[in-house]
């Protein structure tokens, strides 16, 4: 933080910032290893917001307007996606660093959220399909080639603002473009809102797993007998209170017994960027501990 701020003010060199990034990434990887997580993330430490590196890859239009990121005190630069969308032909800066252990997760904006958060003069559903085919799929392919086995699409828009019934079909089409012949697990993670009202539609989407924000969603509304994986957002990424491992294990058991998903993934309900690093690290440790206990219970 201090380095990037200092760089902006001309008080720190670019080399010093690079060194600070490497140090922070190494620390974050260590935390994940100590927590014995199954899939490793680079924490998107270099991403100033979820769209910025993608927009830089798309073209020279610099986003200007600063827009509040849902109901947080964080802001993103509104992507300008007016006119014809150029494709992405390079994935520099978009892939996890080589120092991140495998298997890796690639985290990207969902095409629905991307198309809704952007400024555009186009039909947003056409834009969504275009974003999936021309921007997200090339990046996903590059990520898989670089060792990613899980592709995690962030979808707070649907959770927070909802979705009109006419938009499900284009969303289905966009996700189909991402899922077709994919050699990785594709997860579509709804957060910042209640996934309950959308469960039936979500379960029909062409993805391998659906993520839900359990801080916002009633576990009893998830139904049962899922033929997909469930990414259970059991760690609150917006609260500094540490979750009880025992309670998290109980929630996981409850989900396994009632929802009966094809696979159960334990995760935070949203990104951990809203937490100070030290709190986020403790939460990752708790997540790992809970996951280990659940695995032990399942294997008994």
């Amino acid at each position: 933080m201090a380095s990037t701020r200092g760089l902006d003010r001309g008080r720190v060199t670019a080399d010093a910032v690079e060194a600070a990034f490497a140090e922070d990434l190494a620390a974050f990887v260590r935390v994940q290893q100590q927590a014995r997580l199954d899939v490793f993330s680079d924490g998107l430490l270099r991403w100033q917001d979820i769209f910025r590196p993608l927009m830089e890859a798309v073209g020279p239009i610099k986003p200007e307007s600063l827009v509040r990121w849902f109901d947080t005190n964080t802001f993103f630069r509104e992507p300008d996606l007016s006119g014809t969308l150029p494709g992405v032909d390079r994935a520099d800066g978009l892939l996890p660093d080589a120092s991140v252990p495998r298997p890796r997760v690639a985290t990207l904006p969902s095409p629905y959220m991307f198309s809704r958060a952007a400024r555009t003069d186009r039909d947003r559903n056409h834009l969504m399909v275009d974003l999936a085919g021309k921007v997200l799929r090339p990046v996903i392919d590059a990520a898989i080639a670089a060792g990613c086995q899980l592709v995690h699409l962030e979808e707070p828009w649907l959770g927070y603002f909802g979705i009109e019934s006419k938009d499900w079909a284009p969303l289905h089409e966009a996700l189909e473009l991402l899922h077709r012949d994919l050699r990785a697990t594709l997860a579509f993670h709804i957060y910042f809102g209640d996934a309950g009202p959308h469960v039936d539609q979500l379960r029909r989407l062409p993805v391998d797993a659906i993520g839900v924000d359990l801080v916002e969603t009633d576990v009893n509304e998830l139904g049962s007998g899922w033929d997909k994986g469930l990414v259970a957002g059991v760690i609150d990424g917006r609260s500094s209170m540490l979750e009880s491992v025992e309670n998290t294990v109980e929630v996981a058991r409850h989900l396994a017994d009632t929802v009966r998903p094809r696979n159960l993934y334990l995760s935070s309900n949203c990104e951990l960027a809203f937490l100070p690093t030290v709190v986020a690290e403790r939460k990752v440790q708790r997540l790992g501990e809970a996951a280990r206990k659940v695995k032990q219970l399942v294997s008994v």
């Binding site: 109901d71 947080t72 005190n73 802001f75 209640d194 960027a273």
Partner: protein
């Protein structure tokens, strides 16, 4: 006061923060100062005609600094910022919050009941430090008195004191006191109900135990205009009633002009909730960030200002602090662009006395050079608008 300031046509003021000069930051942190830092202090002192600025240069050459000298340096920084705002021609000024660490951190650091937890990103490479409420909240001591007393002694223009509001302090804090029992197996509706009740208790405790005594202390020192800063006010749309109640609890029956600052939100969300904020005599709101840079005064040319009609129609007729400078960009708004934004607002309100002119928010993310240019163009643009409207020059 309220009968003059809140209805002075096209009154200009800054919102709150300015960047802190490198000489102030480094000297306070005990870091060595470069020739460039000293030259910055000298050149701005000369440019802003800061009285006796050579004494600052002399002081800066004598590191390391004692605690008293560091206090002096903060005051110098306040004086420089004050002179920057006066030099830009603003009608109402303050000191760019030079003596505070940051709007949130300063408040919680001077309060009982909070513990720091660490920093998180706000946007780009800008971060803020978050604390958690862990115990009953109270004021350690009024935390704007010293800066206000100093500024009264050196300011030529009218002063407006920015004070961080209760809702924003709560929203930017973690809650480790009021909303503790979370079991994800409970029905989500029950958890949401408990959460909202806990938020109300948290916000109102800040309003009553922290903000209100602080405002009373400032009024006791002669403060006449206090701006309650609430950039977090619309973060949770279903909590706008709590924001309104917290403003009212903070200012009720106190004798000063109170205003509030809102920014970077969908302002439609504030209606109708803020119809109950009748003690708020001015809403200072950021709009330029959403506007086009084209000249003109038509609805189509001023897309960022469409919501101002709702502020016009508030039953208690507050003034609108019209944000005309985008504080997230180095783009320097021309006087003509400022003029057209102002003329558009006057046309919508049909009353220039209800329009004040401001940046969108504090300018601390911009360099002083950029901030000064923006503010000077803002006052130049207001002068153009006055001419266009046939308004007399403001009182000196």
């Amino acid at each position: 006061m309220s009968s003059t300031l809140d209805h002075r046509a096209l009154l200009t003021h800054e919102i709150g923060s300015l960047d802190k000069p490198a000489w102030r930051v480094k000297a306070y942190a005990g870091q060595p100062l470069s020739d460039r830092d000293l030259e910055e202090a000298r050149s701005w002192g000369e440019r802003l005609q800061v009285p006796n600025y050579d004494q600052l240069i002399d002081l800066l050459r004598h590191a390391p600094f004692s605690k008293e000298q560091k206090t002096d340096l903060q005051r110098w920084s306040s004086l420089y910022a004050l002179k920057l705002e006066e030099g830009a021609g603003l009608d109402v000024v303050y000191d760019g919050e030079q003596q505070r660490t940051e709007m949130y951190d300063w408040a919680v650091s001077h309060s009982n009941g909070f513990e720091r937890r660490g920093s998180v990103r706000a946007f780009d490479n800008k971060y803020y430090t978050k604390a958690a409420v862990v115990a009953p909240i109270s004021l350690k001591a009024p935390f704007h008195n010293a800066e206000f007393s100093y500024l009264v002694s050196v300011a030529g223009a009218e002063l407006k004191i920015p004070v961080t509001g209760a809702y924003t302090i709560a929203d930017w804090s973690f809650d480790e006191r009021y909303d503790l029992d979370t079991d994800l197996r409970e029905p989500a509706a029950d958890r949401r109900r408990k959460h909202k009740a806990a938020r109300r208790d948290f916000v109102l405790e800040i309003a009553r135990s922290l903000i209100r005594p602080n405002l009373m202390a400032l009024i006791g020192l002669g403060a006449r205009w206090i701006q309650v800063d609430e950039p977090g006010a619309s973060t949770e749309p279903d909590e706008l009633d709590i924001f309104v109640d917290s403003f009212n609890a903070s200012v009720e029956d106190l004798n000063a002009m109170f205003s509030t600052h809102l920014c970077f939100s969908d302002y439609n969300l504030f209606f109708p909730a803020i119809e109950r904020m009748s003690q708020c005599r001015q809403f200072a709101v950021g709009f330029a960030n959403y506007d086009s840079r084209e000249l003109g005064t038509s609805d189509a040319q001023r897309p960022g200002y469409q919501v101002i009609k709702k502020f016009r129609d508030l039953p208690y007729k507050p003034a609108l602090g019209l944000g005309v400078l985008d504080i997230h960009s180095d783009f320097i708004e021309s006087p003509e662009l400022v003029r057209d934004r102002v003329l558009y607002a006057v046309k919508v309100f049909d009353d220039p006395a209800r329009i004040h002119v401001t940046p969108d928010c504090g300018l601390r993310t911009r360099s002083w050079e950029v901030a000064f240019k923006k503010l000077r163009n803002m006052t130049a643009g207001v002068a153009l608008a006055r001419r266009e409207l046939g308004l007399p020059d403001p009182p000196a």
